[in-house]
Each structure stands twice: as structure tokens, then as C-alpha cells.
């Protein structure tokens, strides 16, 4: 008798909770500003992606509503920040419970609107609730009200409880604008839960249109990463596990990523591709409401056409094993394009959606070279069974989050202090674009500083801190204090390791590389030391733009540092009109960050991001007198001088 496949039979796609929730609102939604507001703005119809049927009507927020939202968020934030940590913690915990009550509704709303399978939505929500509770616990313990630190204000953390939770716990108000099809209904449901939990009206706002109104909000001084998710498979990996997990990730891309890339070692590439194809053929593609579904529908017909064309025109032969596809909805069979080169058009532009682009490498060193080409990936998975190899690659990858031997460990929740700033400094905010200007050519200074930076970073946190401490001992009191404070802090706060059952998260801070800073006119030596301390302690090279007339004192400071053991050339001083030099620097792709620690005369003339790949801009506008308290400022400056990387791993013999 021939074998008969055991069929799963018709799947279940429960959507009662979400449909009932939508029906209670008569299917019409507008922004949430301290509560539901009249849907006045231009309307559009949301589509249930799996079936193509109408889901709800969504009205965009009008300009007056956006202004109201800002005002409401501002006043709510002031009240909220005035509460004690424990008082915030209580409400956040209630919110977590209110979310739990709505868990089925929320996952169904996400599935209906965004196509994210409920299977993945449940994990997302469970991790989100855990992050929210953790943030509440941290607030309870007083970590949200540390002396000298204040909230950023109104922030835009995005639709992720692992970010919203810490942002709110730290005393901020949050505004969300996921956009139609991006989870607006789920965001509205979260806001409703927040209101029920007694969070102040206006603390969590949902705008129903595009995200532009959020652009001017305060943001943490760390670069936001975007781009494809990276999977790195070494020859000593558990290849079956890697292939299975990577294939499944096609239906559950890490948040913030667009598209997925595979780097696989030459010696095992064929086997890994074959196993991927086998697993991709068995993925369940279909209705995201069915708990068995691995891969939901695409968000639009345009993407389907683009992917189809890309597969047809690929320079390499794609592998697209065809699982059973449902008749309705924009479903697309997951595909793999092996044998690409870094210079292939697909690799250069990237492909969003369930298409895996694969290139091979010969050695771990080459893997790092290929993986770090291009902007840093928000998220990467790394597969190796050898600790030495895995740690080598994980620490060398530029990616924001590296999951060792797993794709679904997800990003770790933000630390609270990411959403806070020193009381004396104005919040970092982006700057309006402006035409480029001319100033002196900084190339020689940048090149010289860049050359010695890796050696300095390689000395380790303690070694660097010791040089700063020795230099501080030779200096006048006003410059010594910030250097010494920073040295002590940097030597002890290098990385954190936190553990859960069978898994751990390592959060480490790496130097940005090369930082240029406009020095403030106020108290030149003190301010310069306050800037140089964190920049150097974190392992960076520095280019200083002194105020005219302060140059001599700065050169003296640098001489003392070099006498204490700082590599010659690590700190460069660029003379000339600081504003003109800053404009030139803002357009450099070989500069990692540009700090404007000036008064009010510069900001509006600097571009947001002059060139793609240009420096991250940070405005640290010090209030008068802020430099006299180096302790508080140094922590914020240290954070701005580093790039946090999270390495997550799980263990089990």
C-alpha cells in the first residue's frame, strides 16, 4: 500500500476577539490622543491581508490633532515624570496585565493588518510583556529616578514593548505612528489597555497616518540601524539547526530589518543550501491567523511583482521549493538565491520579503570582512559550535544584536538610561538640512587620527582609563576632575551580562571610531576635558574644533595627555572657524560622529545626514554651568561615544 500523507485537515483561523473589538468601534478608527478622537482626517480602508477583504476604516490625524497630541503628551509627560519610580512601576505592571487580557485580540489584529502569523505574534507579545514587567521592576528599584538623570521628554520608540516599556519607565511620553498596514490597530489596542491601566491620558499617543510628525521628537544619542538581517553559518555549526532556524526566520524577520542575507562557509554551502530548500518546502504558508502558519502574506502586490521579477532576472539560479500556497491573499513561496557575489545587484539593493540572498566565504576573517561591508545590520544570527570562533565573530560583527546559535532570541529590551539624559544637557535632536559650506580640508587630520585609533581601542578599558588618570594627575584641578571621573567610570562600566534560564545577554559598548566635537566657549579647559574624557576612555580618536582663542589651552591639554601615554596623533585639533569646519565634517563619510557642544548659534545650519553613511550628529547643548558637574555628564557622553552591541546566546549540552 502506498504511504498516505497524514493531512492536518482544515486549519483553524480564530479571529473572533479581533473582529469583535473592531465591531465595537463600528470599524472606524482615528488617532488616539488621550482617548479615541473624532476621525476627521483623510480616510483609507485597511485590508485584511490574507483574504483581501475590508478590515476597518482608518482616518489620518489632522494637523490640529497632531498639535493637540504634542500638547497632551507634553503635559502627561510632566505629570508622569513627577511620579516616583514605584508609582510608575505599579501602573506599568497593571498595563502589562491589561495587555495580557487582550493577548488574543492583539495577535489577531497584527495577523489581520500586518500579516504576521499569530505563532510569531504570540512570542513577540510574550517577550514584550516580559520587557514591560522588567522595566517596571527597574523603576520600582529606583533605577528610573537616578540623581542627575532626567527623561528625554516625548519620544518615538516604535511599536515594540521592549522599547516602549523602558522609555515610559524612564519617565518619557511615547508617540507611535506605525502607519496603515504596520500595526496601527494593535497600537490602538495597546493604547486602550494603557488607558484602562491608569496611565495618564496622553502618555501613549497613536497617530494614524505617516510617521513624519515624529521626526522632531527627542531620541537617544545612538545610531538607529536599518537594513537586512544577517545569518552567518560556519562549517562547525549544527547545520540542520541553522538551516531550520534560518528558513523559519523568513516568516519571522527580526524587528527593524528589511530582507535577509546568508553568509555560509564554502565547505558546507552546498549542504546548507540543500537543507534550507528542504525546510523551506515544508514551511506552512497561509493564513496568519492559523496558529500553525509559519509565513503569512506579503503586504502588497507591488512587493510580489518585485520579488517575482528579481527571481526571474537573478544572475544566479534561485531555489524556490513550492509549498502548498493558499488560493486567496498575496502569498509568496519563500526562495533562496545561492551563489551571489557581494557585488551582485541583489546584494547591493537588497530584497525585502521571504527571499534569502546567499554568498559564501572561505574563512572567519573573510566572513567578518563580508559581513561588515555596508551599513551595520540591526540583527544577525551566528552559527558555530566552537566558543572561540563564535565569540571572535560575534564581537567583530558590527550588527546591533548578534544571536549565537539562534534566530529567534530577539533583541534585548532597552536599558532605562538609554531613554534618559543628564539634567544639564538639552536632549539630542536631529538638525534641519542646509546647503554645504566650505571650510579648511580636514582630510589629513581625520586620516592621522583614524590610523592610531585601533591600537588605542585595543589597549582595553582599564589601560585607557589609566592613561587618563595619569594625565589628570598632571593637570590643573578644573581639567583633572572630568578626566579622573570619566576614567573611573569607564574602567568599571564596560559591559553587562544578564542571565535567564539557559540563556544570557551580553551588552557591550564599542567605540564609535572617530568623533569630532565643537568645543563650547564656556570654560574651555573644563569643557574640552569633559568631552575628551569620554571620547578617549571609550576607545575613540578625537578631532576637536576649539573656539577661536582657546586653541593654545587645548594644545597644552593634549600635550599633557600624550606625555601620560596617549598615542601621538589620537587627538587632532582643527583650527579655523568652527562653524565652517563643522559643516565640512558633517558631509564626511569617514567620520563616525559629530558632536555640537556649542551654544545656540550653530544647530540650525547643520544637515541631518549630509551624506549617506555620514557621521551621526549629536547636539549636546549644555545649559550654563553644566560643565561644572562632570559626573553626570560623563555618563551620557560615554554612551554617546560608544555603540552598544547585544550578544544573546543560549546554552545546553
Amino acid at each position: 500500500m502506498p504511504p498516505t500523507t497524514l493531512d492536518r485537515g482544515p486549519g483553524r483561523a480564530p479571529d473572533a476577539e479581533a473582529r469583535a473589538w473592531i465591531a465595537r468601534k463600528q470599524g472606524r478608527f482615528g488617532p488616539w490622543i488621550g482617548g479615541p478622537v473624532t476621525p476627521d482626517g483623510p480616510r483609507r480602508t485597511l485590508i485584511a491581508l490574507a483574504t483581501g477583504t475590508d478590515l476597518a476604516e482608518l482616518a489620518e490625524a489632522t494637523p490640529p490633532q497632531i498639535a493637540d497630541a504634542r500638547a497632551a503628551a507634553g503635559s502627561a509627560q510632566a505629570d508622569w515624570a513627577a511620579l516616583s519610580g514605584p508609582a510608575r512601576a505599579v501602573r506599568l505592571r497593571v498595563w502589562a496585565e491589561a495587555i495580557e487580557v487582550r493577548a488574543a485580540c492583539l495577535t489577531q489584529l497584527l495577523a489581520l493588518e500586518t500579516g504576521r502569523p499569530v505563532r510569531h505574534g504570540r512570542t513577540w507579545l510574550a517577550e514584550g510583556r516580559a520587557a514591560l514587567r522588567q522595566a517596571a521592576d527597574q523603576a520600582l528599584l529606583g533605577l528610573a529616578n537616578r540623581p542627575g538623570l532626567v527623561p528625554l521628554g516625548i519620544v518615538a520608540p516604535g511599536l515594540s514593548l521592549g522599547r516602549i516599556g523602558p522609555a515610559l519607565a524612564a519617565g518619557n511620553a511615547a508617540m507611535l505612528a506605525p502607519g496603515p498596514g504596520g500595526g496601527t490597530l494593535a497600537a490602538l489596542c495597546l493604547a486602550e489597555a494603557a488607558a484602562e491601566a491608569g496611565l495618564p491620558a496622553g502618555l501613549l499617543t497613536v497617530l494614524t497616518g505617516p510617521a513624519e510628525p515624529l521626526l522632531g521628537l527627542a531620541r537617544p544619542p545612538v545610531p538607529e540601524l536599518g537594513g537586512p538581517c544577517l545569518h552567518l553559518v560556519l562549517e562547525d555549526a549544527d547545520l540542520d539547526a541553522a538551516a531550520d532556524a534560518i528558513a523559519e526566520a523568513l516568516g519571522n524577520p527580526p524587528p527593524g530589518t528589511t530582507g535577509q542575507r546568508l553568509l555560509v562557509q564554502d565547505s558546507v554551502a552546498e549542504r546548507v543550501h540543500a537543507r534550507l530548500a528542504g525546510r523551506m518546502a515544508r514551511l506552512i504558508v497561509g493564513d496568519p491567523l492559523d496558529p500553525a502558519t509559519d509565513l503569512g502574506p506579503l503586504p502588497g502586490a507591488g512587493l510580489r511583482d518585485r520579488l517575482t521579477a528579481a527571481l526571474a532576472n537573478s544572475t544566479s539560479t534561485p531555489i524556490q521549493p513550492l509549498p502548498r500556497l493558499p488560493d486567496t491573499g498575496l502569498h509568496f513561496a519563500p526562495a533562496l538565491i545561492p551563489g551571489l557575489a557581494p557585488a551582485s545587484p541583489e546584494m547591493e539593493t537588497g530584497l525585502p520579503g521571504p527571499v534569502l540572498l546567499s554568498i559564501t566565504f572561505r574563512s572567519p576573517a573573510e566572513a567578518i570582512l563580508l559581513a561588515n561591508a555596508g551599513p551595520p545590520a540591526p540583527s544577525a544570527s551566528l552559527w558555530s559550535e566552537t566558543l572561540a570562533v563564535a565569540l571572535d565573530l560575534a564581537t567583530a560583527l558590527e550588527a546591533g544584536t548578534v544571536c549565537v546559535n539562534g534566530t529567534d532570541l530577539g533583541p534585548a529590551p532597552d536599558p532605562l538610561e538609554l531613554w534618559q539624559r543628564p539634567a544639564g544637557l538639552a536632549p539630542a535632536r536631529p538638525i534641519a538640512p542646509a546647503p554645504a559650506d566650505r571650510g579648511p580640508d580636514p582630510t589629513a587630520a581625520l586620516t592621522a587620527a583614524r590610523r592610531v585609533q585601533p591600537g588605542w581601542a585595543g589597549r582595553g578599558a582599564t589601560g585607557r582609563a589609566a592613561v587618563l588618570a595619569r594625565a589628570a594627575a598632571r593637570m590643573p584641578e578644573e581639567a583633572a576632575a572630568p578626566l579622573a571621573a570619566c576614567a573611573a567610570r569607564a574602567a568599571t562600566a564596560c559591559a553587562t551580562w544578564s542571565e535567564g534560564p539557559g540563556r544570557a545577554t551580553l551588552r557591550r559598548h564599542r567605540p564609535l571610531g572617530l568623533i569630532a566635537a565643537l568645543c563650547p566657549a564656556e570654560t574651555p579647559a573644563l569643557a574640552a576635558a569633559s568631552i575628551l574624557g569620554p571620547v578617549l576612555a571609550a576607545g575613540n580618536a578625537a578631532v576637536l574644533l576649539p573656539h577661536p582663542g582657546d586653541e593654545t589651552r587645548l594644545r597644552l591639554l593634549v600635550t599633557e595627555l600624550e606625555a601620560a601615554g596617549l598615542p601621538a596623533g589620537l587627538v587632532q585639533i582643527l583650527s579655523g572657524a568652527p562653524a565652517a569646519v563643522a559643516l565640512r565634517l558633517a558631509a564626511r563619510v569617514d567620520l563616525d560622529a559629530l558632536w555640537c557642544c556649542e551654544g545656540d548659534d550653530l544647530p540650525d545650519t547643520l544637515p541631518v545626514r549630509a551624506a549617506s553613511g555620514g557621521p551621526a550628529l549629536w547636539l549636546a547643548q549644555a545649559a550654563p554651568g553644566a560643565w561644572s558637574d562632570p559626573g553626570d555628564a560623563s555618563e551620557a557622553f560615554l554612551r554617546a561615544a560608544t555603540r552598544a552591541q547585544t550578544i544573546r546566546t543560549s546554552w545546553g549540552a
Binding site: M1, P3, T4, T5, L6, D7, R8, G9, P10, G11, R12, R119, D236, A237, D238, D240, A241, A242, D244, A245, E248, R282, I284, D290, P291, A292, E385, N405, G406, D408, G502, R503, S650, W651, G652, A653
Partner: protein, 331 residues
């Protein structure tokens, strides 16, 4: 759901196809050494199986009817008697109540085999006469496998001579724990030769092998040495069949098949005692190996209490009023 037709019929009773023997391979220590298994990844992978169980009751009934036909109904107790074995064989021949089968629209059903100690082969054979059901015997110093090598070989020969069509051997765990793959290979190959025409299932006792990597390597060596089936456990270890172990063994069977074209069967045993367990294991082998491993020629459950749990679940599906053990004949 009386009156509804089940989508897939249960296997016709007593006619399981016989898989040809695994010819084996020379020991390839390079392949063995290169095999690595990451336990957390395996655990996360099997956690997704629960969501893939059939949601539709008719499909679930079809899966459970299939599962009944895959059971090696087992008794391995010190107090086994011919009478007890005859009762078990009667249950193996007729595992489901007639009205229950009728309500599910199922044809005649039997379990896949009966599994006993050597001394119980004769009464089992007599009780299964005419049913076509094979008798499987555990052997080679079951469960620890620490009796003299010559005795273990002689035990196989005696059981084959007594009419056991399938022999479940146990491996020496120390060969795995010491990494002595040659010794393991030689041992299993000698057992294979002693089995002659009988089918050989190699019990790896995975609960005593320490790591999933060891489970994978022992699976490979047993298959290279000619095992027709690889089996997780004796049922006497502290930890028996778990899904991560099952996933690991299925992946090795797939790798062996890719390398040789030979299909090796899989038998999880011990600790599989609920209807949802059965669904998860059937889902696992279906996904990893394909539908041929959902047939008795290549897949068995080693279980004693699983059948009762499946009967109760089928009862619930068929009549919608729950179930109790009283409603089903004991084995």
C-alpha cells in the same frame, strides 16, 4: 462525529510491508566526528510542533487511528506470565472497541507488533497465530546490556530461533561515552549478523548518553553497522523518548539516507503516554522524514499506556462526551 468519514483510512490489519535490511556502511569516523548538535536550538525547534497538530477533529482521529497501527504493544515486566501476554496479544489484535471503530468509520485495526522478553516469545506467537502480527523481543542483556558478549549473541540467536521476527538490541553505552566508535560499530555489526533474517532495532538508551551530539553520533554508527531501526530508549532509563532526541535521530536518519539511499526506521519508546504525544511524534517524523515514516515499516511507538490514552481520545472525538478507562477493554 458519528457518520463522518475519516479522510485517511487506518492501515489494513496485519499486512505491514517488510522493509529490506540496512546493508550498512564501513565505519566513517570523520563523519561521526563532524556531527554536532546544538541542544537549545533543538529544543526551540520542537517547541513549534504543538502548533502544528491537526486542528480538525476528523483529521486528528485519522492521525490517532494511524498511531494505533504503529504501536509495538509492550510488556517488559518481571511478573509477566503467559496469561498476561495472551491478554496483551488479544488487545493487539483488537485494540479498539467495535462501536468506536464504526463511529469513526475505520476498518479493522491492529497494533504493529507485540514486544516482550525472550521467555514470552512462545506464548505471544501462539496468541498471535493467524493475525500476521510479528513478535518483537528485547535482547542482549536488556535493559543495561552488560552481560557477557557471548551471552548477548546467544540470546539473539535463541530469540530468533524461538520465532521473534524483530529483535530490539541495546548498545553498550560506555562505547559512546568513551568515544570508542569502532567498538560500538563492531558490537552492533555482530548483533546484526546474529539477527539473521530478523529485523534489528538498536536501542541507544539516549537518556544515558549525556548529550544530543552523542545521540547523533551513536545513531550514525548504529546505522553504519546495519541497524534496521534506531530506537531511543529501553523505557527503563530515568529519561526516555524526548522530542529533541527524536529530532536529532530523525535528522541522522535523513543524513544517512542522503548518503546511502537506505531507509532506516525510527522507534521512540518510553514516556509516550498521551494522545497529544502521539500527534507530536507523528508530526515530527512527517516533517523531518516524510510520510513513509508514518507507516509501520519505518516507524513504531514503543509504548504500553499510549493505546489506552488514544482510545479515550478517540472515544471523546467520536461521541463527544468524554471518556473513562472503564469504557475500553484492558490489555
Amino acid at each position: 462525529m458519528p457518520g463522518e468519514k475519516t479522510p485517511t483510512p487506518a492501515r489494513t490489519a496485519g499486512t505491514q510491508p517488510v522493509q529490506k535490511h540496512n546493508a550498512g556502511l564501513p565505519l566513517d569516523t570523520g563523519w561521526v566526528a563532524a556531527t554536532r548538535v546544538n541542544r537549545p536550538a533543538a529544543e526551540r525547534h520542537v517547541a513549534g510542533l504543538a502548533a502544528r497538530r491537526p486542528a480538525d477533529p476528523a483529521a486528528e482521529a485519522a492521525w490517532l487511528l494511524r498511531a494505533v497501527g504503529l504501536i509495538d504493544l509492550t510488556t517488559l515486566s518481571g511478573d509477566d506470565t503467559p496469561g498476561r501476554v495472551r491478554r496483551l496479544c488479544a488487545k493487539a489484535r483488537n485494540p479498539l472497541r467495535a462501536d468506536l471503530r464504526a463511529a469513526l468509520g475505520a476498518g479493522p485495526v491492529t497494533t504493529a507488533a507485540v514486544c516482550v522478553y525472550h521467555e514470552m516469545i512462545a506464548p505471544a506467537r501462539a496468541a498471535l497465530e493467524g493475525s500476521g502480527l510479528p513478535v518483537a523481543a528485547v535482547s542482549t542483556g536488556f535493559p543495561a546490556g552488560l552481560s557477557p558478549f557471548s551471552t548477548r549473541l546467544a540470546e539473539i540467536e535463541a530469540s530468533v530461533a524461538a520465532g521473534a521476527a524483530e529483535i530490539d538490541i541495546v548498545i553498550s553505552r560506555r562505547h559512546v561515552l568513551l568515544g570508542d566508535w569502532q567498538a560500538l560499530y563492531d558490537e552492533v555489526a555482530a548483533f546484526r549478523a546474529a539477527c539473521g533474517p530478523a529485523h534489528m532495532k538498536a536501542i541507544l538508551a539516549t537518556g544515558e548518553l549525556g548529550t544530543l551530539t552523542n545521540v547523533a553520533r551513536a545513531s550514525l554508527v548504529a546505522m553504519m553497522a546495519g541497524a534496521d531501526f534506531i530506537k531511543t530508549s529501553t523505557g527503563k532509563e530515568p529519561v526516555n523518548a524526548t522530542l529533541p532526541v527524536g529530532l536529532t535521530m530523525c535528522r541522522m536518519i535523513r543524513a544517512y539516507r542522503e548518503a546511502t539511499g537506505i531507509d532506516v526506521g525510527f522507534k521512540p519508546a518510553g514516556g509516550i503516554s498521551t494522545a497529544t504525544d502521539a500527534l507530536d511524534w507523528l508530526g515530527l517524523v512527517g516533517e523531518e522524514l516524510g510520510p513513509r515514516w508514518q507507516e509501520p515499516a519505518l516507524f513504531r511507538f514503543g509504548a504500553s499506556s499510549l493505546l489506552g490514552a488514544i482510545e479515550r481520545r478517540l472515544d471523546e472525538i467520536a461521541f463527544g462526551a468524554g471518556s473513562t478507562p472503564r469504557r475500553h477493554a484492558p490489555g
